[in-house]
Structure formats: C-alpha cells, structure tokens
Symmetry: C2
Subunit: 324 residues, 2 copies
C-alpha cells in the first residue's frame, strides 16, 4: 500500500462545514467542524474548507501527502463529474462555480464533488446498512426527499445525472399535497418536512369534524412552527394530531417505496434523513404499507432498513466518492 | 463470420405463435405464423414451435445449422436466465415449465426465454425507436401496462428479475381506479385496456352531470364492450365520451412517464402497445403532460418516442435475446 492511504470527506452544508479523514475500513480518524461559513463568498468558503481539511489531517496525525482524494458533498445540484455547481437554495452563491477544480488546485490532492443524496447513498452502500446489497436504493426523508441508486457497485446517475429524485414521483394526483416544484401529489409534497404544516392543518380539521382532539403538541404555537422534533415529542405524548400526521406520512412513504420496488426491483431500500428520527412506528408503518401493497411473495425479495451511519453518513459518503 | 449467422425469434402469444429468422442487421428473412396452439398441452405447443421454427428457416433458405440461437418470448413471468415459466394468465398450462431447456433439447440450438415486455424493450433498443439511446425505458400500454429498462446496453432486471413493472406504480392513491393486483391508483388501474370500462362509466356520469353527451360510440352496446378499436373509432367520430377517456388516460400516462423520468433519468422513453394505436393526440397529450410536469429544462434531457417496430417488435425482441 502506498503512502496516500486515506480519503477525506468534506460535508459542505448550509450551516455546518465538516472535514473528516477516513481510513480504508471506513473509520473516521480525525474530524474538524465549523459553523461560520454561511454568507461568506465562495473564496472564503474554500479557504475554510482547506483549513478544516488540514485540521482533520493533523488530528489524524497525517498530512496532505497521506490523502489519495478529497470528496466534497455539495448541498444542491452539481454537474458530474466536472463538479461545477448548478443550483442550491441552501448556500448563498455557488451558482456555476467550479468547486471540484478549485479545491483540487488549492489542496494539490485529487478532488471530486457530488450532491448530498448521492454521497450518502454510497456511504450506506460501502459502510452502512446497505453494505453489499446490490441493487441498492437509498431514500432520505427530511425537509425534502431525495435519494440515490447503486447498480453493480456504482452510483447509477442516469442520462444527465438526476436519477434517484424519488421526492418528485407523483403518488397522489387527486390528493391535496402541493410540492415546492409546483406539481401536486409528489411524494415530497405529501410526506416531508415541507409538507408538515399543511398536512397538520388539514388533519386538524378532520380530527375536529370527527370530534377528536385537533390540538397542536405542547410548545407549538401554530402549524408553521411544527417541525420534526415537535412532531416526535407530540407522538411520545400521544398527541392525536401528531400521530395522525405520522400515520399519513408513513402511508405515503410506503407507497413511494412500493413504486421504487416496482420500477427498480432493488435488493434493499435504506431509509435515512431527519424525519426518520420519528418513533419506530413511523418506520414500521411505512415498511408495513409497502409490504401490504406488494403482497408477501414480492416482499420477501426486498429488504427495508434504516440507515446505519447517522451523523457519519455525510463524511463517509463524501469520502466514498473515491474507492478505498 | 461462421455459418451460424441468424437468430430466431419465437413469439409465443396467447392466440398467435410466430417464428422468424433474423439476420445480423435486424431484417426478418422468413416467418411462420399459426393460430392453433391455444388449449393444447405444453408438449404439443413445443411441437408447434419447432414446426414454425423449421418453416421459417426453410422460407429463409436456411436450416438449423445456420441458427446461432433461438429467443422465445413468453406472455407472462418467467425466471431468468433459467427460462422456467412462473405464471401467465394468457396461456393455459405453462406453470413451472422448463421452456428454455426443453426447446433447446428439441432443436439442438442454444435457447433463451424471456417475458414479452423485456424482449420488446431489447427489440426497440437494437432495431427500433430506441436505437443507441441509453439508458432507455420502454413502456407498453395495451390491456395491461408493462415495460423494460436498458442500462449500458443490457436489460436491467433488478434483484429478482421484476424491474420495469411500471404498470404497478401508484400514481393516484386518492383516485377511483382499481387495478387487478388489488391496489388502488396503479397506472394500470387508471390508464389501460383493463381500466377502460370503469373509466368510461365514471366519465359518462360526469358528462351527464355537466349536460354533455355521455353516449357510447356507435356500435358499442355497453361499457364492458368498449375496447381500443371502438375507442379509436369513437375519437375519429368526435364522440365526447371517447375523447374524455383518452384525455384522462393521456394525463395519467404522462404522470407515469414523469415518475419514470424522476427515478431513472433515461435518455429516452419509447411507448408501444395496442393502445398507442389511438389517435396521434393521445401520444401527443401524454408527452405534453410529462413535459409540463418536468418543466422545459428537464424535458430537453428526455426524448419521448413511439415504438418503431410495430408488428415486428415481438420477433425482433425475441431474437435480440442473443447478440447479433
């Protein structure tokens, strides 16, 4: 084995900027995290990324010469393999910016850049719940819904790099949910953080008509303030509205997974993202919906699992852009 | 080039049994078709297939020694690559039958067997509207809805061989359409030959409430008698009910293609199947719905085309199971 045995994963988020040094087995040997890049120009962000990379290497007792590659996870669309940013609503600037090339020039280390869902997919495939499960689908449910696909050990990107946009599948054309994309009935418009306020408002109306308690959970003043943490707390307190929201989200998520199963027939679907921090019965109900739609014979051929990497998903996914 | 330069495609349908000899360029040099196998046992069907293969070879001025492989298109599920039949509602018998092995033993020519949608997908990819367009999705709309996926020049089959079941994607969870699979809102339950009677009945009710003409087209006595041919004739006669049915089918088909685009980001979607014999505006409206949902930028990256092989799709697809 040569000297350059580590890969570095950089998680360029909307508020957090982390760099981690990853060994061939997927252990994070050193990590540096900062929270002060938002609102800075692209050059200043690059400088911070460089500083965090060096700090993480120092923690690992290593230097730039030990790094075979730096993978950068970008929170938005980015052209692959060029690594030129297209759009992001999560970070000011960074439109048409040659992120990959500029980082590579600064560090003198080969660099690749990809979007967060693709990188997390690779991370779960190489080090997490999807290890060795091929074809693999990763579906992440938080504010929005995204995902990625692994076929024959590689990310499947499609013709122009946008494959795996599971959040935009239309699952309920006659339903009420509207997505930020402008369409109705997208998975993201009916089961995501973005769909939370409108879903709660609609279900509160239904609970009231049915004579059940439509109240928001304690600590929540109005529908637009409801988020994943309050929803989880409300479920723990047996708040009826929160449970109704989670039931509906789980049903739609189960339908979404069923559609993915019919199109791709993957070996496993791994679920990740912030909303999966909801109680176990959210995950169980979603998996059970998918199982019920598919029937017992078909379900035997599909594993549905929670992501296993948690907070390490971004760093490991970014690092996994380079082969170990 | 060796002597065995031809491939033979066998289309084992519910009523038609055809065999064709195909040259490396995709020309059909000889073809034999019979219609008398339905209701016979598996052995008798094998004997007829053998007879048609020999008759097609004779027409092409060739013999068994000229054939490098025989591809059989089976109208139902079949285990790949073993070629053991699983289920079909289109042909009596043929459950758990080793079709591939038995044909190979009879003919003394290498044999492969696959389901009709997969074979047609390969046919359009190698010889038809999808030539050279990779990744390719083929979507067939007739009594049911099926399809196939080509990635990197090969059929993508998924973990257990059921990938590309686009008809079972749920696109309208809150809608009225029921599918034969038992679920609601499947693409096949809202836009296929199977969905025709119920859709017409429901839309006739709506037209009546709106004061429009809810009559069935001339020659059609009740909803259950409505089929693709009557629907096409009705559209040509400007029958309002037929037009309403086609508009609704086109909208759902457009949604289905949009979902496939979001998941797979293919280079092209090729549409085939009997219902595509409907007037041009059916195809145009479906493509236009997909385009509208995706927005102009995304649509530029996707071609939507009609299949180009027509009646030759089955023979060419079956033959294409072997490389030219």
């Amino acid at each position: 084995m040569g000297k350059a045995r580590y890969r570095i994963g950089v998680d360029l988020g909307g508020t957090k900027l982390a760099a981690g040094v990853v060994d061939p087995e997927g252990n994070i040997l050193g990590e540096a995290v900062t929270y002060d890049h938002r609102g800075l120009g692209e050059e200043a962000v690059l400088a911070l990324m460089e500083r965090n990379v060096d700090a993480a290497l120092a923690q690992a007792g290593a230097g730039r010469a030990d790094a075979k590659g730096v993978g950068v996870l970008f929170p938005g669309h980015i052209r692959w393999p060029e690594g030129v940013t297209l759009t992001t609503s999560n970070l000011p600037g960074f439109k048409g910016f040659p992120l990959r090339e500029r980082m590579e020039a600064r560090l003198g280390i080969p660099c690749l850049a990809d979007n967060d869902a693709n990188a997390q997919t690779l991370g779960e495939y190489r080090y997490g719940a999807g290890r060795g499960l091929d074809p693999l689908v990763f579906l992440t449910v938080s504010t929005g819904i995204g995902g990625g696909i692994v076929i024959d050990g590689k990310l499947y990107r499609g013709f122009t790099g946008t494959a795996g946009e599971f959040g935009h599948m239309i699952v309920d054309a006659s339903g009420d949910g509207r997505c930020t994309c402008g369409n109705s009935g997208c998975l993201m418009g009916v089961a995501s953080g973005l769909a939370l306020p409108e879903t709660a408002r609609r279900l509160a109306g239904r609970l009231e008509r049915e004579g059940a308690c439509p109240d928001l959970p304690g600590g929540c003043s109005d529908f637009s303030a409801l988020d994943g943490a309050l929803l989880a707390a409300g479920c723990a307190d047996e708040n009826e509205l929160c449970r109704a929201v989670v039931d509906e989200f789980a049903r739609y998520l189960g339908i979404g997974m069923y559609n993915v199963f019919q199109v791709l027939n993957p070996r496993a679907i791994v679920l990740g993202g912030g909303l999966l921090n909801l109680p176990d019965y959210f995950f169980d109900a979603a998996a059970s919906t998918c199982r019920g739609l598919a029937g017992p014979m078909m379900y035997d051929r599909l594993e549905i699992k929670r992501g296993a990497l948690g907070g390490r998903a971004a760093i490991l996914g970014a690092a996994a852009l380079f082969e170990a």
